[in-house]
């Protein structure tokens, strides 16, 4: 869509954007966003590798950790390998892990192979159109993880994965699991 505007408009836009760069919080200070500041996460529906329909709202009242990944992304796969035992450890307490795959047709056949090889137990959802990525990870960065609290609100999000993160991820999950579920 082309709609050329004047150069002063471009400068004004850049200036306006610059004003938004004031950081609001720091990871080391708060493992998750304060509950009162959490925005709602838009519901979505995708199919699993086995063709079953899954909606985010199916897990209302639970803590949902959404991980966007692709088979060509090594840190994405490393994160999933860590998240699977986390799910086994905290699943009964209300943790759900949804692994949303974003592979293109070029590498889509590799998805099931990786899941089987690693024996992942979490639901692996397919987003072939990339529409859920567009809603929740608008810049399409990989890996990208999103923490949804029991009230369906965005408690935290994170780009990338590094080896020191598992303790912080677990602490964040524990903190969210301790929060009370909202009244139905």
């Amino acid at each position: 869509m082309t709609n050329p505007v004047t150069t002063p408009s471009i400068r004004a836009l850049l200036l306006a954007v610059g004003l938004l760069w004031t950081p609001t919080s720091h990871a080391a200070e708060a493992p998750t966003e304060p509950a009162a500041e959490r925005p709602p996460v838009a519901d979505f529906g995708l199919r699993t590798l086995d063709g079953k329909k899954v909606k985010l709202s199916d897990y209302a009242g639970q803590v949902v950790l959404i991980s966007f990944w692709a088979t060509w992304c090594a840190p994405c796969k490393q994160e999933l390998i860590f998240l699977d035992p986390l799910l086994k450890k905290y699943g009964e307490q209300g943790l759900v892990v949804l692994a949303i795959n974003t592979d293109s047709p070029k590498s889509q056949a590799e998805v099931r192979r990786f899941v089987r090889t690693r024996n992942l137990q979490m639901p692996v959802l397919l987003d072939p159109d990339g529409e859920v990525v567009r809603r929740l990870d608008p810049r399409a960065v990989m890996p990208f993880s999103l923490y949804v609290d029991r009230a369906g609100r965005r408690a935290h999000e994170h780009e990338g994965f590094s080896p020191d993160e598992p303790p912080a991820i677990e602490a964040r999950v524990i903190a969210l699991l301790k929060e009370p579920a909202p009244a139905p």
Binding site: T7, W21, P105, A140
Partner: protein, 501 residues
Amino acid sequence: MRYAALGLILLPCVATAQPTALRLDDRLALEGHVDNGNRLTDDDDYGAALERLIVTGNAGALTASVEIDAELFQGRPSAAYQDDARLERISVGYDLDDWQVTLGDLHRQLGRGIVLSLRKIDELGEDTTLQGGQLSLSLDDHEADLFAGRTNASQLDAVSQKHTEDPGDVIAGGAYSFHGLSWLTVGVHGLHLRPRVDVLPEEGQDHASALGAFLETPPLGDVLAIYLEADWEGRHVAGQGEQAKAMYGSADLTLGAVDVLLEGLLLDHFFVRGSPNTLLRKPFDYAQPPTLERFDQEVIDNTNTRGGRAKVSYALLEGDLVPYVNAMYRQNDPGDEAQLDQLHAYVGVDLAYQDGRSRVGLSGGWRRERQQDEIVKGMIHGDVDWLQALPAAWALHLTVSHESRELAGRDYLRGTTLVGLEKGGLGAATAEIGYDTQDDSGDVRQVFVAGILSWETSPDLALRATGGNQRGGLKCVAGVCRDFPAFSGGRLEIVARHDLL
């Protein structure tokens, strides 16, 4: 007008009584380009400010997003670099139980992308949408949708930073799939394409129609999963009628710790193309079929080809150690005088250790491409991806990609090595060395050296500074993977997000 549309879309998000989310994602890149050593002079010595602002919002069943792109160039080396600011994407969606309506820009893929694949590749890659509408119904056992619109490409070419125009081709289509059987999913899809620009206007309107069907089984008996797709296309181009067909299949067989993946592909002059890209002087391609190739393998032609591949993996140590072997054979233009035979085999191993905190992936392979009994292209390659966790949350990351290539009887080397020291929540310092000796004329750069510093100042703000010369390609830096364009000079990227509500 555009701003009014923006307001109309965002207003429901803030006006509704539902809990509302409204956020900004912003990326600003300030770049200074110097001579990149490619002999061309129309892409050197200029400055650029590239801005992408994405606003997403949701309230109850309503979702909305807009993307504003702006480019400002200083000392433009050619008119192909254009100062511009525009509303590049706008989309609103409404979910009503099992129904969903999307208006504006949408991405869409049918089957395995043989007929249609409009999707965002990554943060900086190609991004073409369908600007129109889509109505979807998603039930437990049935899924159906109808869509129509005009194709809308990003005006800024991600690699060259030059300006390109929208194709504006009309595409309408739909899909249906049945999931009512636990052991089988079946589906059909189709589309009609009407390019905005005809190849020969005097020969009438160009158009194409495509139909396809697929079936997919979940692992039968937890052992065998199958996907099969067949597609047909009828085209009318420059007054000539053409037909094309495509078939694709994959089978994933699991026998204990052994996994066997088989893929087969047949594309018989199959392509779904629109109007010419004004920058690249070739048509926009709306299909992205499987290629059988590695994810980073360049594929010159994937429209008239047939072949297959097999990959065998063996999971050891509960999946922490996975050796694998892969072999692929493809024929381009089979049966023609110009038939190209491509053979690629590689082996590798993936190892995770220290409770998954560290990993190493090693692979190596061999490739030959023959035409009329002559080797026209060859390659021996080796790849390393090693991430070693260090004390105090530090990590060492080494990525090596080396290719010894042969093209038309001439040998050359190509590769990239990245060495980085990373600390989670803080950032990374990475050194990059690349080389490409294909052109040894003396006035083309063969060695590329660059440094990358990334700093995560907060969860909402990250800075990346790059200086030097880089080869293009897929790179994973500080745990994030992106497809980088070739670059020479200095760049500061500022990535921010901000919750407005």
